[in-house]
């Protein structure tokens, strides 16, 4: 047994789980899929006294679709998204992203809520959620709050979560049906954490463009110049490349030459894919 000893409880309701997680004087950790927490427990990087199992809370498994948005409960697994069990209003983008997260056995258990709560700068979902301006619903000691993903993630492994908080799920605005996307990821091997993550989306031909880059800095970042350049019909690849370079210099001054070339190539690859749709 590698983890240090801890107590374990499986509350029946979200309210009970929140109270248990917020217990004073006790170092608590919530476990859902456990695919990130388990290695941290084994390495004793995480040392909770009490592990609160939230994996069976039905209120966190709700998935609904309204005309304007999709609600994904925090316990939605990567595999469920990959297999198209959740509403596919993103023309396949979510499925493409999900299918490249880690490995199938991990995707079977790993959840979107757990991934976002960990806020690894190289994680996929924060980039996706940021692209669409998604919001989180979080239940905690002071009731429920709604927060945008960009406000929620403060930096590497840093979020606004405090003791007793539980992410209920994500409200993701649905794009227009004509929406096009490009997604590109650089990783040493398939399933490994990304060195670069780029999502480029356009609301139809000639519509507004958004480009978001992950794994380059402390949190996902909108590439403003790149998006503006991609909005110009028939702008050349050289012009797009120059815009990406300008964005990288503006937001990620610390990157070395190799990293800049890698991110440039990756964003360009995503942009090409989007334009080809």
């Amino acid at each position: 047994m590698k983890p240090a000893p801890f107590e374990y409880v499986r509350p029946k309701t979200v309210a009970e789980a929140s109270v248990t997680l917020g217990r004073r004087g006790v170092n608590t950790a919530a476990i859902a899929g456990g695919q990130s927490l388990m290695p941290m427990l084994a390495l004793r990087v995480a040392l909770p006294d009490l592990v609160v199992d939230i994996s069976r809370l039905e209120d966190l498994k709700i998935v609904t679709r309204t005309p304007d948005s999709v609600w994904l409960g925090a316990l939605t697994t990567h595999a469920a998204i990959e297999d198209g069990e959740t509403p596919d209003v993103f023309n396949g983008l979510m499925r493409a992203i999900a299918g490249q997260i880690s490995y199938r056995a991990v995707r079977n258990h790993g959840t979107i809520g757990g991934s976002v709560a960990l806020a690894d700068p190289a994680a996929d979902w924060p980039v996706f959620l940021s692209t669409f301006g998604a919001t989180l619903r979080i239940v905690g000691r002071n009731g429920v709050r709604v927060q945008s993903i960009d406000d929620f993630i403060q930096g590497p492994y840093e979020t606004t979560l405090t003791t007793g908080d539980i992410i209920m799920g994500f409200d993701i605005p649905a794009p227009p049906r004509s929406f096009r996307w490009g997604f590109s990821k650089v990783a040493r091997k398939s399933g490994a954490f990304a060195h670069s993550l780029a999502v480029v989306v356009a609301a139809g031909k000639g519509g507004p463009v958004k480009a978001v880059l992950g794994a380059a800095g402390p949190k996902p970042r909108m590439l403003i110049a790149t998006a503006a350049q991609l909005e110009i019909p028939d702008s050349s690849e050289e012009e797009v490349r120059a815009a990406i370079k300008a964005d990288l210099n503006a937001y990620f001054g610390d990157l070395d030459d190799y990293q800049k070339r890698m991110h440039t190539a990756n964003v360009l690859h995503a942009a090409r894919k989007m334009r080809a749709q």
């Binding site: 000893p5 801890f6 476990i31 456990g34 427990l41 880690s102 490995y103 991990v106």
Partner: protein, 161 residues
Amino acid sequence: MTTVTIDLNGVKIAADVEPRQSLADFLRDACGLTATHLGCEHGACGACTVVVDGKATRSCLSLAVMCDGRAVQTLEGLRSDAMMELLRRHFHESHALQCGFCTPGMLIMARDILRRHSRPDAAIVRHELSGQICRCTGYANIVKAIVAAGQEIANVATSEE
């Protein structure tokens, strides 16, 4: 200690587990089911892959206590599973193992791949197998065995139509 009830390879068992015990340690140490191998113990190597409620699962990344009420299948429990018999034969014929340490995880994952993909080609198998590490074979024969098994299933299905 917490008491859990688990459907283990088709048999209902009740056991007392320490909360920090992984499913892998529980299977090997408490149940004597040593087909489940432990390589990295942090989810990278795939040797410990088992099936929980029908889903391929890293047993090193699961707590035994969280499997309370679930159905767990290890390689031992898939001895007479039709697809596993087929895979064993193809692993044998293609010489898809050398030291055998990764093989239990490879077989479980191979079965999972064939349940989700009909007649997968080598590219699909390689992508799907990227979470399983083998340090002997160079993967070529493992991929060959799974592709061949997938073809045999598809051919049998076609001839039965």
